[in-house]
Protein backbone atom coordinates (compact mmCIF):
# COMPACT_ATOMS: atom_id res chain seq x y z
CA UNK A 1 0.00 0.00 0.00
CA UNK A 2 2.80 2.35 0.93
CA UNK A 3 4.76 1.43 -2.11
CA UNK A 4 1.71 2.13 -4.22
CA UNK A 5 1.18 5.61 -2.83
CA UNK A 6 4.86 6.44 -3.34
CA UNK A 7 4.56 5.33 -6.94
CA UNK A 8 1.44 7.44 -7.33
CA UNK A 9 3.25 10.46 -5.95
CA UNK A 10 6.06 10.16 -8.43
CA UNK A 11 3.90 9.27 -11.38
CA UNK A 12 3.41 12.82 -12.78
CA UNK A 13 7.12 13.57 -12.44
CA UNK A 14 8.06 10.28 -14.10
CA UNK A 15 5.69 10.84 -17.01
CA UNK A 16 6.99 14.38 -17.46
CA UNK A 17 10.58 13.15 -17.40
CA UNK A 18 9.79 10.47 -19.97
CA UNK A 19 8.12 13.05 -22.19
CA UNK A 20 11.13 15.36 -22.03
CA UNK A 21 13.44 12.46 -22.92
CA UNK A 22 11.24 11.54 -25.85
CA UNK A 23 11.17 15.16 -27.04
CA UNK A 24 14.95 15.61 -27.02
CA UNK A 25 15.67 12.12 -28.39
CA UNK A 26 16.09 13.30 -32.04
CA UNK A 27 18.85 15.70 -30.97
CA UNK A 28 20.73 12.95 -29.18
CA UNK A 29 20.11 9.82 -31.19
CA UNK A 30 21.50 9.05 -34.65
CA UNK A 31 19.06 8.13 -37.41
CA UNK A 32 18.94 4.38 -36.93
CA UNK A 33 18.19 4.27 -33.19
CA UNK A 34 15.65 7.03 -33.76
CA UNK A 35 13.80 4.93 -36.28
CA UNK A 36 13.86 2.00 -33.84
CA UNK A 37 12.38 4.33 -31.23
CA UNK A 38 9.67 5.35 -33.71
CA UNK A 39 8.84 1.71 -34.23
CA UNK A 40 8.77 1.15 -30.45
CA UNK A 41 6.23 3.96 -30.12
CA UNK A 42 4.01 2.48 -32.81
CA UNK A 43 4.12 -1.02 -31.36
CA UNK A 44 3.57 0.30 -27.85
CA UNK A 45 0.26 1.65 -29.10
CA UNK A 46 -0.46 -1.71 -30.74
CA UNK A 47 0.34 -3.63 -27.54
CA UNK A 48 -1.63 -1.21 -25.37
CA UNK A 49 -4.66 -1.55 -27.62
CA UNK A 50 -4.44 -5.33 -27.36
CA UNK A 51 -4.04 -4.96 -23.60
CA UNK A 52 -7.53 -3.43 -23.40
CA UNK A 53 -8.85 -6.84 -24.49
CA UNK A 54 -6.24 -9.26 -23.19
CA UNK A 55 -5.24 -7.50 -19.98
CA UNK A 56 -8.25 -5.54 -18.81
CA UNK A 57 -11.26 -7.42 -20.17
CA UNK A 58 -9.52 -10.82 -20.10
CA UNK A 59 -10.32 -11.57 -23.76
CA UNK A 60 -7.31 -13.41 -25.24
CA UNK A 61 -7.31 -12.15 -28.81
CA UNK A 62 -4.88 -13.81 -31.21
CA UNK A 63 -6.23 -11.77 -34.08
CA UNK A 64 -5.28 -8.25 -33.21
CA UNK A 65 -3.16 -7.99 -36.35
CA UNK A 66 -6.47 -7.95 -38.27
CA UNK A 67 -6.95 -4.40 -37.01
CA UNK A 68 -3.31 -3.45 -37.45
CA UNK A 69 -3.43 -4.67 -41.05
CA UNK A 70 -6.79 -3.04 -41.73
CA UNK A 71 -5.37 0.29 -40.61
CA UNK A 72 -2.28 -0.28 -42.72
CA UNK A 73 -4.21 -1.17 -45.85
CA UNK A 74 -6.64 1.71 -45.31
CA UNK A 75 -3.71 4.11 -45.28
CA UNK A 76 -2.00 2.32 -48.16
CA UNK A 77 -5.05 2.27 -50.42
CA UNK A 78 -6.02 5.85 -49.62
CA UNK A 79 -2.50 7.09 -50.25
CA UNK A 80 -2.06 5.09 -53.42
CA UNK A 81 -5.42 5.56 -55.14
CA UNK A 82 -6.71 8.86 -53.73
CA UNK A 83 -3.68 10.71 -52.42
CA UNK A 84 -5.56 11.33 -49.19
CA UNK A 85 -3.69 13.55 -46.70
CA UNK A 86 -2.31 11.71 -43.70
CA UNK A 87 -4.55 13.12 -40.92
CA UNK A 88 -7.68 12.16 -42.81
CA UNK A 89 -6.24 8.80 -43.86
CA UNK A 90 -5.38 7.95 -40.25
CA UNK A 91 -8.89 8.91 -39.14
CA UNK A 92 -10.38 6.70 -41.82
CA UNK A 93 -8.00 3.90 -40.74
CA UNK A 94 -9.34 4.21 -37.18
CA UNK A 95 -12.88 4.16 -38.54
CA UNK A 96 -12.10 1.04 -40.57
CA UNK A 97 -10.69 -0.69 -37.49
CA UNK A 98 -13.76 0.18 -35.44
CA UNK A 99 -16.05 -0.91 -38.28
CA UNK A 100 -14.27 -4.26 -38.59
CA UNK A 101 -14.65 -4.76 -34.83
CA UNK A 102 -18.32 -3.83 -34.90
CA UNK A 103 -18.97 -6.28 -37.73
CA UNK A 104 -16.98 -9.19 -36.33
CA UNK A 105 -17.72 -8.54 -32.65
CA UNK A 106 -21.12 -10.23 -32.59
CA UNK A 107 -19.48 -13.44 -33.82
CA UNK A 108 -16.28 -13.60 -31.80
CA UNK A 109 -17.72 -12.19 -28.58
CA UNK A 110 -20.10 -15.12 -28.22
CA UNK A 111 -17.14 -17.11 -26.99
CA UNK A 112 -14.60 -17.05 -24.16
CA UNK A 113 -11.09 -18.23 -23.52
CA UNK A 114 -9.55 -20.61 -26.02
CA UNK A 115 -12.57 -20.37 -28.33
CA UNK A 116 -12.24 -16.61 -28.46
CA UNK A 117 -8.57 -17.05 -29.24
CA UNK A 118 -9.26 -19.41 -32.12
CA UNK A 119 -12.07 -17.29 -33.57
CA UNK A 120 -9.99 -14.12 -33.54
CA UNK A 121 -7.14 -16.08 -35.12
CA UNK A 122 -9.47 -17.29 -37.87
CA UNK A 123 -10.65 -13.75 -38.46
CA UNK A 124 -7.07 -12.70 -39.09
CA UNK A 125 -6.53 -15.62 -41.43
CA UNK A 126 -9.65 -14.76 -43.44
CA UNK A 127 -8.46 -11.18 -43.88
CA UNK A 128 -4.98 -12.44 -44.72
CA UNK A 129 -6.53 -14.64 -47.42
CA UNK A 130 -8.51 -11.75 -48.88
CA UNK A 131 -5.44 -9.51 -48.98
CA UNK A 132 -3.32 -12.27 -50.47
CA UNK A 133 -5.76 -13.18 -53.24
CA UNK A 134 -7.23 -9.81 -54.15
CA UNK A 135 -4.12 -8.88 -56.05
CA UNK A 136 -5.68 -6.24 -58.25
CA UNK A 137 -6.44 -4.00 -55.28
CA UNK A 138 -4.08 -5.05 -52.51
CA UNK A 139 -1.09 -6.05 -54.57
CA UNK A 140 -1.24 -9.57 -53.15
CA UNK A 141 2.03 -10.71 -51.66
CA UNK A 142 3.80 -7.70 -53.20
CA UNK A 143 1.74 -5.41 -50.99
CA UNK A 144 1.41 -1.71 -51.64
CA UNK A 145 4.82 -0.01 -51.84
CA UNK A 146 5.61 3.66 -52.15
CA UNK A 147 3.35 5.12 -49.49
CA UNK A 148 4.67 8.66 -49.04
CA UNK A 149 5.82 9.47 -45.51
CA UNK A 150 3.80 12.36 -44.08
CA UNK A 151 5.67 15.22 -42.45
CA UNK A 152 4.81 17.82 -39.86
CA UNK A 153 4.78 21.08 -41.87
CA UNK A 154 6.02 23.26 -39.03
CA UNK A 155 9.16 21.16 -38.66
CA UNK A 156 10.00 21.01 -42.37
CA UNK A 157 13.60 21.94 -43.01
CA UNK A 158 14.35 22.26 -39.30
CA UNK A 159 14.85 18.61 -38.50
CA UNK A 160 15.70 15.53 -40.53
CA UNK A 161 12.92 13.54 -42.18
CA UNK A 162 13.39 10.73 -39.69
CA UNK A 163 13.03 13.15 -36.80
CA UNK A 164 10.02 14.77 -38.43
CA UNK A 165 8.12 11.50 -38.71
CA UNK A 166 9.30 10.58 -35.23
CA UNK A 167 7.63 13.72 -33.84
CA UNK A 168 4.48 13.03 -35.81
CA UNK A 169 4.37 9.50 -34.36
CA UNK A 170 5.08 10.83 -30.88
CA UNK A 171 2.16 13.26 -31.08
CA UNK A 172 -0.33 10.71 -32.46
CA UNK A 173 0.75 7.88 -30.15
CA UNK A 174 0.96 10.26 -27.18
CA UNK A 175 -2.60 11.44 -27.66
CA UNK A 176 -3.82 7.87 -28.22
CA UNK A 177 -2.08 6.58 -25.07
CA UNK A 178 -3.48 9.47 -23.01
CA UNK A 179 -7.00 8.54 -24.13
CA UNK A 180 -6.35 4.87 -23.34
CA UNK A 181 -5.25 5.92 -19.85
CA UNK A 182 -8.49 7.80 -19.48
CA UNK A 183 -10.53 4.82 -20.71
CA UNK A 184 -8.98 2.28 -18.36
CA UNK A 185 -9.27 4.57 -15.33
CA UNK A 186 -12.90 5.42 -16.05
CA UNK A 187 -15.79 3.43 -14.56
CA UNK A 188 -15.84 1.62 -17.90
CA UNK A 189 -12.26 0.45 -17.31
CA UNK A 190 -13.10 -0.83 -13.85
CA UNK A 191 -16.09 -2.67 -15.29
CA UNK A 192 -13.80 -4.33 -17.86
CA UNK A 193 -11.69 -5.70 -15.03
CA UNK A 194 -14.93 -6.94 -13.50
CA UNK A 195 -15.60 -8.83 -16.74
CA UNK A 196 -12.16 -10.39 -16.59
CA UNK A 197 -12.71 -11.41 -12.98
CA UNK A 198 -16.21 -12.76 -13.34
CA UNK A 199 -18.54 -11.67 -16.07
CA UNK A 200 -21.57 -13.20 -14.43
CA UNK A 201 -21.04 -11.45 -11.13
CA UNK A 202 -20.76 -8.17 -12.97
CA UNK A 203 -23.99 -8.87 -14.79
CA UNK A 204 -25.60 -9.57 -11.43
CA UNK A 205 -24.69 -6.03 -10.41
CA UNK A 206 -26.67 -4.72 -13.36
CA UNK A 207 -23.91 -4.18 -15.91
CA UNK A 208 -24.68 -4.94 -19.58
CA UNK A 209 -21.55 -7.03 -19.92
CA UNK A 210 -21.97 -7.95 -23.56
CA UNK A 211 -22.27 -4.32 -24.60
CA UNK A 212 -19.22 -3.42 -22.53
CA UNK A 213 -17.18 -6.13 -24.25
CA UNK A 214 -18.44 -4.99 -27.64
CA UNK A 215 -17.35 -1.40 -26.97
CA UNK A 216 -13.98 -2.56 -25.62
CA UNK A 217 -13.48 -4.66 -28.75
CA UNK A 218 -14.34 -1.69 -30.98
CA UNK A 219 -11.99 0.62 -29.07
CA UNK A 220 -9.16 -1.90 -29.23
CA UNK A 221 -9.84 -2.26 -32.96
CA UNK A 222 -9.67 1.50 -33.50
CA UNK A 223 -6.40 1.92 -31.62
CA UNK A 224 -4.92 -1.16 -33.28
CA UNK A 225 -5.79 0.23 -36.72
CA UNK A 226 -4.23 3.58 -35.81
CA UNK A 227 -0.98 1.79 -34.95
CA UNK A 228 -1.20 -0.13 -38.24
CA UNK A 229 -1.77 3.08 -40.20
CA UNK A 230 1.25 4.73 -38.62
CA UNK A 231 3.35 1.66 -39.33
CA UNK A 232 2.37 1.73 -43.02
CA UNK A 233 3.57 5.34 -43.21
CA UNK A 234 6.69 4.45 -41.26
CA UNK A 235 7.65 1.64 -43.64
CA UNK A 236 6.24 3.36 -46.72
CA UNK A 237 4.76 -0.04 -47.43
CA UNK A 238 1.94 -2.30 -46.40
CA UNK A 239 1.91 -6.03 -47.07
CA UNK A 240 0.27 -9.25 -45.90
CA UNK A 241 2.92 -9.57 -43.16
CA UNK A 242 1.22 -6.72 -41.34
CA UNK A 243 -2.03 -8.65 -41.12
CA UNK A 244 -0.49 -12.05 -40.35
CA UNK A 245 -1.33 -13.83 -37.13
CA UNK A 246 2.41 -13.94 -36.34
CA UNK A 247 2.19 -10.26 -35.63
CA UNK A 248 -0.83 -10.85 -33.38
CA UNK A 249 1.19 -13.45 -31.50
CA UNK A 250 4.07 -11.03 -31.14
CA UNK A 251 1.65 -8.46 -29.72
CA UNK A 252 0.47 -11.03 -27.22
CA UNK A 253 4.07 -11.73 -26.19
CA UNK A 254 4.67 -7.98 -25.72
CA UNK A 255 1.61 -7.60 -23.49
CA UNK A 256 2.20 -10.69 -21.35
CA UNK A 257 5.95 -10.12 -21.07
CA UNK A 258 5.52 -6.56 -19.85
CA UNK A 259 2.46 -7.22 -17.71
CA UNK A 260 -1.08 -7.81 -18.94
CA UNK A 261 -3.69 -5.66 -17.27
CA UNK A 262 -1.16 -3.07 -16.17
CA UNK A 263 -0.98 0.27 -17.94
CA UNK A 264 2.75 0.49 -18.70
CA UNK A 265 3.42 -3.24 -18.96
CA UNK A 266 2.79 -3.46 -22.72
CA UNK A 267 5.21 -0.57 -23.34
CA UNK A 268 7.94 -2.39 -21.44
CA UNK A 269 7.20 -5.61 -23.28
CA UNK A 270 7.36 -3.81 -26.62
CA UNK A 271 10.69 -2.20 -25.82
CA UNK A 272 12.11 -5.54 -24.80
CA UNK A 273 10.90 -7.45 -27.85
CA UNK A 274 12.04 -4.81 -30.33
CA UNK A 275 15.42 -4.29 -28.67
CA UNK A 276 15.96 -8.04 -28.71
CA UNK A 277 14.99 -8.10 -32.36
CA UNK A 278 17.23 -5.22 -33.47
CA UNK A 279 20.12 -5.35 -31.05
CA UNK A 280 20.56 -9.04 -30.31
CA UNK A 281 20.04 -9.97 -33.95
CA UNK A 282 23.26 -8.11 -34.70
CA UNK A 283 25.14 -10.76 -32.72
CA UNK A 284 23.13 -13.87 -33.34
CA UNK A 285 20.44 -15.10 -35.68
CA UNK A 286 18.76 -16.84 -32.78
CA UNK A 287 17.18 -13.80 -31.19
CA UNK A 288 13.77 -15.48 -31.28
CA UNK A 289 15.18 -18.28 -29.15
CA UNK A 290 16.47 -15.75 -26.65
CA UNK A 291 13.08 -14.06 -26.68
CA UNK A 292 11.50 -17.44 -25.96
CA UNK A 293 13.79 -18.03 -22.99
CA UNK A 294 13.11 -14.53 -21.63
CA UNK A 295 9.39 -15.15 -22.06
CA UNK A 296 9.46 -18.48 -20.23
CA UNK A 297 11.53 -17.07 -17.38
CA UNK A 298 9.21 -14.09 -17.04
CA UNK A 299 6.08 -16.19 -16.97
CA UNK A 300 7.62 -18.48 -14.36
CA UNK A 301 9.29 -15.89 -12.12
CA UNK A 302 7.22 -12.76 -12.71
CA UNK A 303 3.81 -14.04 -13.74
CA UNK A 304 2.40 -10.53 -13.63
CA UNK A 305 5.02 -9.25 -16.03
CA UNK A 306 8.30 -7.38 -15.96
CA UNK A 307 6.52 -4.23 -14.83
CA UNK A 308 6.26 -5.89 -11.40
CA UNK A 309 10.01 -6.41 -11.10
CA UNK A 310 10.63 -3.45 -8.70
CA UNK A 311 7.81 -4.63 -6.40
CA UNK A 312 9.19 -8.14 -6.51
CA UNK A 313 12.68 -6.99 -5.54
CA UNK A 314 11.26 -4.85 -2.73
CA UNK A 315 9.31 -7.81 -1.37
CA UNK A 316 12.23 -10.16 -1.51
CA UNK A 317 14.33 -7.62 0.38
CA UNK A 318 11.58 -7.06 2.92
CA UNK A 319 11.36 -10.78 3.35
CA UNK A 320 15.08 -11.16 3.86
CA UNK A 321 14.94 -8.44 6.48
CA UNK A 322 12.29 -10.36 8.37
CA UNK A 323 14.54 -13.38 8.10
CA UNK A 324 11.87 -15.45 6.46
CA UNK A 325 14.02 -17.98 4.64
CA UNK A 326 11.62 -18.73 1.79
CA UNK A 327 8.43 -17.27 0.45
CA UNK A 328 5.37 -19.04 1.74
CA UNK A 329 4.48 -21.70 -0.79
CA UNK A 330 0.73 -21.13 -0.70
CA UNK A 331 0.57 -17.47 -1.59
CA UNK A 332 2.68 -15.29 -3.87
CA UNK A 333 5.17 -13.34 -1.81
CA UNK A 334 4.15 -9.90 -3.03
CA UNK A 335 0.91 -10.08 -1.09
CA UNK A 336 2.59 -10.36 2.25
CA UNK A 337 1.82 -6.80 3.40
CA UNK A 338 -1.88 -7.21 2.77
CA UNK A 339 -1.92 -10.62 4.38
CA UNK A 340 -0.41 -9.14 7.47
CA UNK A 341 -3.12 -6.50 7.52
CA UNK A 342 -5.78 -9.18 7.24
CA UNK A 343 -4.30 -11.08 10.11
CA UNK A 344 -4.30 -7.94 12.23
CA UNK A 345 -7.93 -7.32 11.45
CA UNK A 346 -8.87 -10.86 12.28
CA UNK A 347 -7.00 -10.69 15.54
CA UNK A 348 -8.76 -7.48 16.46
CA UNK A 349 -12.26 -8.77 15.72
Amino acid sequence: MNAKSITAQWRPAAILGLLVLLLIAPFVLPTYPLSVLTEILIFTLFAMSLNILLGYAGLPSLGHSAFFGTGGYAVGLLAKYFGTPAPLALLIAVGAGIALALITGPFVLRTHGAYFLILTLSLTQVLFGIVWLWRRVTGGDDGLPGIPTPKLPFLLGRVSDTANFYYLTLIVVGIAIATIAWVVRSPFGLALVGIRENERYLEGLGYPTWTLKYVAYALAGGYGALAGGLFAYFKGFVGPGQISWLLAGEGMVMVILGGAGTFWGPAIGTILVLLLRYEVSAFTQRWVMILGIVFILTVLLLPQGIVRLPNRIREIRAQLRREAPLPRPTAPAHHTPSERAVEQVIERS
Binding site: M1, P187, G194, R348
Partner: protein, 257 residues
Protein backbone atom coordinates in the same frame (compact mmCIF):
# COMPACT_ATOMS: atom_id res chain seq x y z
CA UNK B 1 -53.84 -6.46 -1.80
CA UNK B 2 -50.59 -4.86 -2.83
CA UNK B 3 -48.77 -5.91 -5.98
CA UNK B 4 -46.68 -8.97 -5.06
CA UNK B 5 -42.94 -8.48 -4.87
CA UNK B 6 -42.41 -11.72 -6.72
CA UNK B 7 -44.83 -13.86 -8.61
CA UNK B 8 -44.03 -17.07 -10.45
CA UNK B 9 -46.70 -18.56 -12.72
CA UNK B 10 -46.19 -22.18 -13.72
CA UNK B 11 -42.45 -21.82 -14.16
CA UNK B 12 -40.59 -24.81 -15.54
CA UNK B 13 -36.96 -25.25 -16.37
CA UNK B 14 -35.68 -28.02 -18.58
CA UNK B 15 -31.94 -28.42 -19.10
CA UNK B 16 -30.80 -30.95 -21.64
CA UNK B 17 -34.03 -32.93 -21.51
CA UNK B 18 -33.95 -33.05 -17.72
CA UNK B 19 -36.74 -31.25 -15.90
CA UNK B 20 -35.12 -29.31 -13.07
CA UNK B 21 -38.15 -27.22 -12.15
CA UNK B 22 -41.69 -28.32 -12.81
CA UNK B 23 -44.68 -26.01 -12.85
CA UNK B 24 -43.68 -23.80 -9.95
CA UNK B 25 -46.12 -21.11 -8.87
CA UNK B 26 -45.53 -18.95 -5.87
CA UNK B 27 -46.25 -15.43 -4.66
CA UNK B 28 -44.10 -13.43 -2.28
CA UNK B 29 -45.64 -10.29 -0.75
CA UNK B 30 -43.68 -7.05 -0.37
CA UNK B 31 -41.59 -7.07 2.79
CA UNK B 32 -42.00 -10.79 3.26
CA UNK B 33 -39.13 -13.05 4.27
CA UNK B 34 -39.54 -16.26 2.30
CA UNK B 35 -37.34 -19.27 2.73
CA UNK B 36 -37.04 -21.98 0.10
CA UNK B 37 -35.87 -25.28 1.48
CA UNK B 38 -35.50 -28.78 0.14
CA UNK B 39 -33.01 -31.58 -0.20
CA UNK B 40 -29.94 -31.25 -2.40
CA UNK B 41 -30.89 -31.34 -6.05
CA UNK B 42 -34.42 -30.09 -5.41
CA UNK B 43 -33.80 -27.15 -7.75
CA UNK B 44 -33.50 -24.35 -5.21
CA UNK B 45 -30.49 -22.67 -6.76
CA UNK B 46 -31.86 -23.15 -10.26
CA UNK B 47 -35.06 -21.47 -9.13
CA UNK B 48 -33.14 -18.45 -7.85
CA UNK B 49 -31.19 -18.30 -11.10
CA UNK B 50 -34.40 -18.36 -13.11
CA UNK B 51 -35.81 -15.53 -10.97
CA UNK B 52 -32.60 -13.50 -11.28
CA UNK B 53 -32.37 -14.06 -15.03
CA UNK B 54 -29.16 -16.05 -15.20
CA UNK B 55 -31.16 -18.95 -16.60
CA UNK B 56 -34.15 -18.36 -18.86
CA UNK B 57 -37.37 -20.08 -17.84
CA UNK B 58 -38.39 -22.82 -20.27
CA UNK B 59 -42.08 -22.20 -19.56
CA UNK B 60 -44.08 -19.91 -17.34
CA UNK B 61 -43.73 -16.31 -16.29
CA UNK B 62 -41.87 -14.31 -13.69
CA UNK B 63 -43.19 -10.98 -12.38
CA UNK B 64 -41.24 -8.70 -10.06
CA UNK B 65 -43.25 -5.88 -8.48
CA UNK B 66 -45.89 -6.33 -11.14
CA UNK B 67 -43.47 -6.09 -14.02
CA UNK B 68 -42.97 -9.09 -16.24
CA UNK B 69 -39.26 -9.92 -16.36
CA UNK B 70 -39.44 -13.40 -17.88
CA UNK B 71 -37.49 -12.40 -20.97
CA UNK B 72 -35.25 -9.76 -19.43
CA UNK B 73 -31.52 -10.49 -19.11
CA UNK B 74 -30.11 -10.53 -15.58
CA UNK B 75 -28.60 -7.05 -15.73
CA UNK B 76 -31.94 -5.48 -16.68
CA UNK B 77 -33.64 -7.14 -13.70
CA UNK B 78 -31.37 -5.13 -11.43
CA UNK B 79 -33.32 -2.10 -12.70
CA UNK B 80 -36.45 -3.33 -10.95
CA UNK B 81 -34.52 -3.76 -7.72
CA UNK B 82 -33.71 -7.45 -7.93
CA UNK B 83 -30.30 -8.54 -6.65
CA UNK B 84 -28.91 -11.93 -5.78
CA UNK B 85 -26.05 -13.32 -3.75
CA UNK B 86 -24.19 -16.52 -4.56
CA UNK B 87 -23.28 -19.68 -2.68
CA UNK B 88 -19.67 -18.74 -3.24
CA UNK B 89 -19.64 -15.00 -2.51
CA UNK B 90 -19.97 -13.15 -5.82
CA UNK B 91 -17.00 -10.84 -5.36
CA UNK B 92 -14.15 -9.85 -7.65
CA UNK B 93 -11.15 -11.56 -6.11
CA UNK B 94 -8.37 -9.56 -7.74
CA UNK B 95 -9.96 -6.25 -6.80
CA UNK B 96 -9.73 -4.59 -3.42
CA UNK B 97 -12.70 -4.34 -1.09
CA UNK B 98 -13.07 -0.69 -2.01
CA UNK B 99 -13.01 -1.43 -5.73
CA UNK B 100 -15.67 -4.08 -5.21
CA UNK B 101 -17.91 -1.48 -3.60
CA UNK B 102 -17.04 1.13 -6.22
CA UNK B 103 -17.96 -1.19 -9.06
CA UNK B 104 -21.43 -1.57 -7.56
CA UNK B 105 -21.84 2.13 -6.86
CA UNK B 106 -20.61 3.13 -10.32
CA UNK B 107 -23.16 1.10 -12.17
CA UNK B 108 -24.81 3.26 -14.78
CA UNK B 109 -23.22 6.43 -13.47
CA UNK B 110 -21.89 9.15 -15.76
CA UNK B 111 -22.88 7.83 -19.18
CA UNK B 112 -24.65 4.58 -19.92
CA UNK B 113 -21.30 2.92 -20.51
CA UNK B 114 -19.38 4.78 -17.85
CA UNK B 115 -16.84 6.15 -20.32
CA UNK B 116 -16.86 9.58 -18.72
CA UNK B 117 -14.66 10.80 -15.93
CA UNK B 118 -12.05 9.08 -13.82
CA UNK B 119 -13.00 6.85 -10.91
CA UNK B 120 -10.49 8.35 -8.49
CA UNK B 121 -11.58 11.93 -9.27
CA UNK B 122 -15.24 11.21 -8.58
CA UNK B 123 -15.48 12.67 -5.08
CA UNK B 124 -19.14 11.87 -4.62
CA UNK B 125 -18.69 8.18 -5.42
CA UNK B 126 -15.56 7.93 -3.27
CA UNK B 127 -17.44 9.45 -0.35
CA UNK B 128 -20.31 7.01 -0.77
CA UNK B 129 -17.90 4.09 -0.98
CA UNK B 130 -16.32 5.27 2.26
CA UNK B 131 -19.78 5.33 3.87
CA UNK B 132 -20.61 1.82 2.70
CA UNK B 133 -17.25 0.50 3.91
CA UNK B 134 -17.81 2.05 7.30
CA UNK B 135 -21.37 0.83 7.59
CA UNK B 136 -20.30 -2.75 6.91
CA UNK B 137 -17.21 -2.66 9.08
CA UNK B 138 -14.93 -3.04 6.06
CA UNK B 139 -12.78 0.08 6.41
CA UNK B 140 -9.90 -1.90 7.88
CA UNK B 141 -9.73 -4.16 4.87
CA UNK B 142 -10.71 -1.59 2.25
CA UNK B 143 -7.44 -1.70 0.30
CA UNK B 144 -6.88 -5.43 0.50
CA UNK B 145 -7.58 -7.66 -2.45
CA UNK B 146 -10.70 -9.60 -1.64
CA UNK B 147 -9.10 -12.98 -2.34
CA UNK B 148 -7.00 -12.54 0.80
CA UNK B 149 -10.04 -12.06 3.00
CA UNK B 150 -11.61 -14.85 5.02
CA UNK B 151 -14.92 -16.23 3.81
CA UNK B 152 -17.05 -14.28 6.27
CA UNK B 153 -15.53 -11.01 5.09
CA UNK B 154 -16.04 -11.93 1.46
CA UNK B 155 -19.69 -12.54 2.25
CA UNK B 156 -19.88 -9.12 3.85
CA UNK B 157 -18.27 -7.48 0.80
CA UNK B 158 -20.77 -9.24 -1.41
CA UNK B 159 -23.74 -8.07 0.65
CA UNK B 160 -22.36 -4.54 0.98
CA UNK B 161 -22.00 -4.29 -2.81
CA UNK B 162 -25.57 -5.46 -3.32
CA UNK B 163 -26.96 -3.13 -0.68
CA UNK B 164 -25.14 -0.25 -2.31
CA UNK B 165 -27.57 -0.80 -5.20
CA UNK B 166 -30.59 -0.57 -2.85
CA UNK B 167 -32.29 -3.88 -3.58
CA UNK B 168 -36.06 -4.11 -3.23
CA UNK B 169 -36.06 -7.86 -3.72
CA UNK B 170 -33.01 -9.68 -2.43
CA UNK B 171 -32.33 -13.33 -3.29
CA UNK B 172 -29.92 -15.02 -0.90
CA UNK B 173 -28.47 -18.36 -1.99
CA UNK B 174 -27.22 -20.21 1.09
CA UNK B 175 -25.70 -17.15 2.73
CA UNK B 176 -24.85 -19.09 5.89
CA UNK B 177 -22.92 -21.77 4.01
CA UNK B 178 -19.26 -21.66 4.91
CA UNK B 179 -19.83 -19.71 8.12
CA UNK B 180 -18.48 -21.17 11.32
CA UNK B 181 -21.12 -22.40 13.76
CA UNK B 182 -20.42 -19.59 16.22
CA UNK B 183 -20.80 -17.00 13.45
CA UNK B 184 -24.37 -18.06 12.73
CA UNK B 185 -26.22 -16.27 15.57
CA UNK B 186 -24.62 -12.95 14.61
CA UNK B 187 -25.50 -13.65 11.02
CA UNK B 188 -29.15 -14.30 11.91
CA UNK B 189 -29.20 -11.00 13.79
CA UNK B 190 -27.86 -9.23 10.73
CA UNK B 191 -30.54 -10.81 8.55
CA UNK B 192 -33.23 -9.76 11.00
CA UNK B 193 -32.03 -6.19 10.85
CA UNK B 194 -32.62 -5.95 7.10
CA UNK B 195 -35.04 -3.11 6.41
CA UNK B 196 -38.69 -4.20 6.36
CA UNK B 197 -39.40 -2.57 3.01
CA UNK B 198 -37.03 -5.08 1.48
CA UNK B 199 -38.39 -8.43 0.33
CA UNK B 200 -36.07 -11.36 0.94
CA UNK B 201 -36.09 -14.80 -0.66
CA UNK B 202 -33.69 -17.11 1.10
CA UNK B 203 -32.40 -20.52 0.07
CA UNK B 204 -30.77 -22.09 3.07
CA UNK B 205 -29.83 -25.47 4.46
CA UNK B 206 -29.38 -24.31 8.04
CA UNK B 207 -32.80 -24.85 9.62
CA UNK B 208 -31.70 -22.64 12.46
CA UNK B 209 -31.42 -19.72 10.09
CA UNK B 210 -34.62 -20.61 8.23
CA UNK B 211 -36.89 -21.02 11.21
CA UNK B 212 -35.67 -17.95 13.05
CA UNK B 213 -35.95 -15.70 10.01
CA UNK B 214 -38.66 -16.74 7.55
CA UNK B 215 -42.28 -15.57 7.57
CA UNK B 216 -43.21 -18.29 5.14
CA UNK B 217 -41.46 -21.35 3.84
CA UNK B 218 -41.69 -23.07 0.46
CA UNK B 219 -40.49 -26.66 0.30
CA UNK B 220 -39.13 -27.87 -3.02
CA UNK B 221 -38.82 -31.54 -3.78
CA UNK B 222 -37.71 -32.97 -7.14
CA UNK B 223 -38.20 -29.58 -8.73
CA UNK B 224 -41.80 -29.12 -7.62
CA UNK B 225 -43.45 -27.33 -4.70
CA UNK B 226 -44.15 -29.90 -2.01
CA UNK B 227 -45.56 -27.49 0.55
CA UNK B 228 -45.94 -23.81 1.22
CA UNK B 229 -46.83 -22.23 4.56
CA UNK B 230 -45.80 -20.61 7.81
CA UNK B 231 -42.90 -22.15 9.70
CA UNK B 232 -45.36 -23.85 12.10
CA UNK B 233 -47.41 -25.31 9.28
CA UNK B 234 -44.30 -26.58 7.55
CA UNK B 235 -42.98 -28.17 10.71
CA UNK B 236 -46.23 -30.05 11.21
CA UNK B 237 -46.57 -31.13 7.60
CA UNK B 238 -46.09 -34.88 7.50
CA UNK B 239 -45.10 -35.03 3.88
CA UNK B 240 -42.35 -32.50 4.50
CA UNK B 241 -41.22 -34.40 7.55
CA UNK B 242 -40.97 -37.57 5.56
CA UNK B 243 -39.26 -36.04 2.55
CA UNK B 244 -36.80 -33.74 4.13
CA UNK B 245 -37.24 -31.95 7.37
CA UNK B 246 -36.78 -34.73 9.91
CA UNK B 247 -33.53 -35.78 8.34
CA UNK B 248 -32.32 -32.25 7.83
CA UNK B 249 -33.10 -31.27 11.43
CA UNK B 250 -31.61 -34.33 12.96
CA UNK B 251 -28.56 -34.19 10.81
CA UNK B 252 -27.75 -30.53 10.78
CA UNK B 253 -29.11 -28.51 13.63
CA UNK B 254 -30.29 -30.93 16.25
CA UNK B 255 -32.58 -29.38 18.85
CA UNK B 256 -33.12 -25.97 17.34
CA UNK B 257 -36.89 -25.80 17.20
Amino acid sequence: MAVPALQLDHVSKVIGGLTILEDISLTVQPGERRAIIGPNGAGKTTLLNVIAGFLPATRGRVHVFGREVTKLPAHRRVDVGLLKTNQQPAVFHELTTRQNILIALLRGRHTPLGLGGLVERDREIQRRAEQVLEEWGLLDVSDIEVRHLPHGYQRRVELAARFALRPRLLLLDEPAAGLAVDEIPAFIERLKQLPRDMTVVLVEHSMRVVFSFADRITVLHHGAVLADGTPDEIQQNEEVQAAYLAGAMRGRDAGIA
